[in-house]
Symmetry: C2
């Protein structure tokens, strides 16, 4: 699989123009930008720079957060941006329960209803929506927490919705292999990093591939067997380590570690 | 439901004799001790003190950790201790992958094999084994991470094995209600605390009931509908908060918060 860089991986060190340039220099052929970075650089300029450097967009991060007030407008705009960038999917981080609520079940129903509401626009724009189940410890950011649950939503909504499989979120799941097979061609993104044995933070302490406990070649084999032919996208949130390093070292290491993926 | 105190809740402040005394003073009628505390106080003395104060043992923590070298001997001893204390279950924290391994699937098979090996002794002693699924973020401590997975193991092993349902570990699970119903009478323990919205640590930052996001009355209603008639056992690991407070305040608060459970 070809490598893609999720721009969160070096977002502390570089702006988006620098990241695009860095990918080209390190011969990383795919890129998956975040919308705040795109907004800073400008949508047209982002598209132009990505084209100019010959990169492939592997996703746009992110839509979702359906418990926020402006969710509808924001998701419609995200679909437009994904279309403009030629992204093969808009990644959805679906959001958690609204403040004060303990009703996880309603929140989950709400997520499905909201996706259903924006789906016609996504279909029209030719932008598949990729539901990304987040690790159960991140339930406050996303109430979709297993691949099985995400696929149940996909089954209910039909064409135009798939999943993003991020090993960090799903590697622990005893049903992972079966659910990846069930997902099949609905896998719209495959994200890699590693689970550190002594994780210090629930959100921003991801490890570099090879530094943790995830059997990456095994999960990759399942994803490939399901028919996925896209990139593998490195996405590392790392407050205490990789966000503090020279970004060229980070990208060099991503390339080197492909041997353990 | 009557209240029980898992002794971990005030283990930093009090020894086991003090905890037993504290439960009696605060009219908490159940207790679930940890084996290291029992060893310090002495098994016979623990039994005598618990009887003398009229407390009911609701579980013994813990057997399991099947990846450790001495697992067999240790689990057989734990069964004997649970029997001696009249515990209705030995709680199993099953352990994670051995050092250096990334083979989660083998680890899980191993867990089931090990339980199968000690099960005849547990049956003979009349001590049910309670598999406690731990939160996926704690996979390094237990490779059983959902109630569904735990019940699949129970189904395979038959009589004498059940589950402990700790809300902290399972509250996020979209299949929770159905799996609690499936568990039925195999629920051997019900543990409560809360999930803090800004959790600071993967192991020791549990919240007091009412301070977090878990809909405790809802989960209790499911557990009761499944036929569980035992105690609800407070188990709070809290490095930064409850372990630093006056233990009498902790026990008083546990009692007060029963109104939100």
């Amino acid at each position: 699989m070809n490598l893609s860089l999720n721009t969160a991986t070096v977002r502390r060190q570089w702006n988006l123009a620098q990241i695009i340039d860095g990918c080209a220099r390190h011969e990383i052929r795919g890129i998956s930008p975040w919308r705040d970075q795109v907004a800073s650089l400008g949508l047209q300029k982002t598209r132009a720079l990505i084209e100019q450097h010959g990169l492939t967009v592997t996703g746009l991060c992110r839509g979702g957060f359906f418990s926020e007030k402006n969710w509808l407008e924001d998701n419609l705009r995200a679909i437009e941006e994904a279309h403009a960038l030629g992204a093969p999917a808009l990644i959805l981080v679906v959001g958690g329960m609204p403040a004060g609520s303990k009703d996880l079940s309603s929140c989950r129903k709400q997520v499905q209803d909201c996706i259903a509401q924006v789906l016609p626009e996504a279909r029209k724009a030719g932008v598949p929506l990729a539901i990304e189940p987040l690790h159960p410890m991140q339930v406050t950011r996303a109430a979709v927490n297993t691949l099985e649950q995400a696929l149940d939503v996909c089954d209910a909504l039909g064409e135009g919705v798939g999943v993003a499989v991020d090993v960090y979120h799903v590697w622990w799941d005893p049903k992972l292999q079966g659910q990846i097979a069930r997902a099949g061609r609905r896998i719209l993104g495959y994200h890699i990093c590693d689970w550190l044995p002594a994780t210090r933070d629930l959100f921003n302490d991801r490890g570099m591939m090879g530094d943790g406990l995830i059997d990456l070649p095994l999960i990759r084999s399942w994803v490939e067997a399901a028919g996925y032919t896209g990139f593998q996208e490195v996405e590392i949130f790392s407050d205490l380590d990789w966000w503090q390093r020279d970004p060229d070292e980070v990208l060099r290491t991503c390339n080197e570690r492909l041997t353990v993926c």
